[in-house]
Amino acid sequence: MSLSLLFYCVAAITIGSAVFVVLNRNAVYSAIALVLCFFSLAVIYLLLEAYVIAVLEIFIYAGAIMVLFLFVIMLLNLGKEDALPNLNYLQRATSLLLVLLFFVGIFIVMIGDQGLLHQPTEQFLAGGIYPLGEALFSKYLLPFEIASLLLLVALIGTVYLAKRKV
């Protein structure tokens, strides 16, 4: 039970930091909040017994991607954004409405469908590295290779973009 409590606590942190990311005007602070968010997500993954993913979350997101963000922020010396921009209320409201609709819709589907909370019972076996590895290199070999190709393309593209003026 304590672990589920932990889950909710961490979830709260996650949501809080996510909000912080969006609302904070300082890009650096946003980035740090995002890192925090990823950390708490990693904890949630751990709680969900997806160890590899948890570590990867930190490794890739926190360790690599966010550093890149920070790097760029500092490189561009963005500092503080002046203010939140004036909003086109109609547009924004519509979007918000759509999101809420989506959110509510799923909620209704989930609850309304069976009225039960889904709780897996059996021992989770797929959290380790072996199952993941096996799946990746057998069943999902093609997507894996495509992903690596994607990375290569991204690599080349990045280098190309960074090297010269567009």
């Binding site: 650096v28 160890y51 570590v55 360790g63 690599a64 550093v67 500092m74």
Partner: protein
């Protein structure tokens, strides 16, 4: 989880934490003494016998000093940064086994805080976090030198993390596991079952990368005094500065421990079955671990007072153009070897 188990873990955490902090103190003293000897000097010799209490004195001095926060810094981050740097440094040690297991209270207690099955990944993940400390310290100081130091340092860390990770991959390939204990077990036996002999190239790459990761000479570009005054910690003083300092040494300790674990059989004493010797075996294993670690720590200092600092472009070139291909090549070789072996 029962109370005893929890207590044991707590004790282990405390022991490891205390040991690491003690190690930091020892390293501070050792660094000064060793460097002094290497320069035909005496080094600290006033506080305590042979100056052994010097780090304590230093610590007290740090505590007593005025904690100065410059006016134009980004205060929250400025204060947070040293902690961000220090905490991952201390956390890393959690997964490193520092001895064989002992039997206490009718349980076999592994001399390791947490036996994580993705231990290697865990370590890599945490080391990558320490970048934040540096980058944020550099940025928040609102100082050109600090920022440049921070940026340099983060770029350097990211670049070398790659090579380090790839070097470790070949070890993982051999061990077939991400668990550090498995890796140690894999190396048990004679001297030559140590990974250093099986993976010399990986060791070399790993060692070099470790120096870069810990920001030690010859790769201490983030705080190159001649160019950047103090680098990312230029603006720091008092205990905050001490935290950077401690983090550096804690990182070194971790790195040394990791090196020992990955390439020198960890706590394993070659040609000896520690398990059969009972408590004595355990102690022996701990001792062996500490000795091996001590050597690498000494190596850190030794290298620092021997080699000159790299130029930044040289550093990057070395990381990307030499280390990375070599590491990949090494993986290729290892994989090929394993495949051949598997095929018979």
């Amino acid at each position: 989880m029962d109370l005893l188990g929890f207590t044991i873990i707590l004790v282990k955490v405390l022991v490891v934490f205390a040991a690491t902090m003690l190690g930091v103190l020892v390293m501070i003293y050792a660094e000064r003494r060793v460097s002094a000897f290497m320069q035909d000097r005496v080094g600290p010799n006033r506080v305590g016998p042979k100056g052994v209490l010097q780090p304590i004195a230093d610590g007290i001095k740090f505590l007593m000093k005025e904690d100065l926060v410059p006016e134009k810094v980004d205060k929250p981050i400025f204060i947070l940064a040293p902690a961000i740097l220090l905490i991952p440094a201390l956390m890393t040690f959690a997964v490193i086994p520092f001895g064989s297991s002992i039997n206490l209270f009718g349980r076999e207690i592994a001399l390791q805080v947490a036996d994580v099955n993705v231990g290697v990944l865990y370590i890599l993940a945490l080391t990558s976090i320490s970048v934040y400390g540096i980058v944020l310290a550099g940025w928040s100081s609102n100082n050109k030198y600090s920022l440049l130091g921070g940026l340099r340092s983060s770029a350097q860390l990211i670049s070398y993390e790659l090579a380090m990770g790839l070097a470790v991959v070949s070890i993982i390939l051999l061990a077939g596991s991400l668990r550090l204990n498995d890796i140690i077990t894999d190396q048990q036996g004679s001297f030559f079952s140590w990974n250093i002999f099986r993976q010399p190239l990986a060791f070399l790459i790993f060692l070099i990368a470790v120096y870069a990761e810990t920001n030690r000479l010859p790769f201490d570009l983030s705080e190159a005094e001649q160019e950047l005054v103090g680098g990312y910690h230029t603006e720091y003083s008092s205990m905050k500065f001490a935290m950077f300092f401690m983090a550096e040494y804690a990182n070194m300790i971790t790195a040394a421990a990791l090196t020992v674990t990955l390439f020198f059989g960890g706590w394993d004493v070659p040609l000896l079955d520690e398990g059969s010797l009972g408590l004595f075996g355990t102690l022996l294993s701990v001792l062996s671990f500490l000795l091996k670690m001590a050597f690498f720590l000494f190596l850190f200092i030794w290298v620092r007072w021997t080699f000159p600092r790299f130029r930044y472009d040289q550093l990057m070139r070395l990381g990307w153009k030499v280390m990375l291909p070599l590491a990949l090549f090494n993986i290729f070789l290892t994989a090929g070897y394993l495949t051949l072996k598997a095929l018979g």
